[in-house]
Symmetry: C2
Subunit: 102 residues, 2 copies
């Protein structure tokens, strides 16, 4: 059953197109992570935060990714990483047109 991983952290830029350029190779490597169905990249310039919403095929993949990614972000100099894992309620999500897997 799909597992949703919600991550956000303080972030000082780059933003928008410059962020896209700077993070392209990282995004390409994330696309190859075991169990990843998709990631939405999030950014809020006004709040000084960025993050991601991920859907994984199972909890084991999501937890393994989070361990690696948290260490990577701290290595990038991010001061703290907020992360939560959730099961997806498929029945309610389907009513609300969600792209939430199986």
């Amino acid at each position: 059953m799909s597992v949703l991983l919600q991550v956000d952290f303080p972030y000082a830029g780059p933003w928008g197109d410059t962020m896209s350029e700077a993070m392209r190779e990282l995004a390409e490597s994330i696309a190859r992570e075991p169990g990843l169905q998709w990631k939405i990249w999030t950014e809020n310039r006004d709040a000084g935060e960025a993050g991601g919403i991920y859907l994984f095929a199972d909890r084991t993949s999501a937890e393994a990714y989070l361990r690696m990614h948290r260490a990577r972000l701290l290595g990038f100099g991010v001061p703290r990483v907020n992360a939560k894992l959730f099961d997806v309620n498929q029945t309610l999500s389907a009513i609300d047109r969600a792209p939430a897997g199986e």
Copy 2:
């Protein structure tokens, strides 16, 4: 440009199929909210939390929904509501197969 709304809060159940049954009408009403593209319903029984990840067509719709939904949740007895709004980086999200709209 699509705006992502991330919401979570302390929650004591019901969970799973019982939650689906209890919240069906609410999900049907949320499907009709102005500007909503989709909502993923999230739940974590071990952590005692639930929430939602929403994609809206624009920031105005997302902010209006959040004001209404926060008041509704507090009315349900939820002690606090964690909510963050983000822009979606479409280029990076597309690389990671995300269903993140335009």
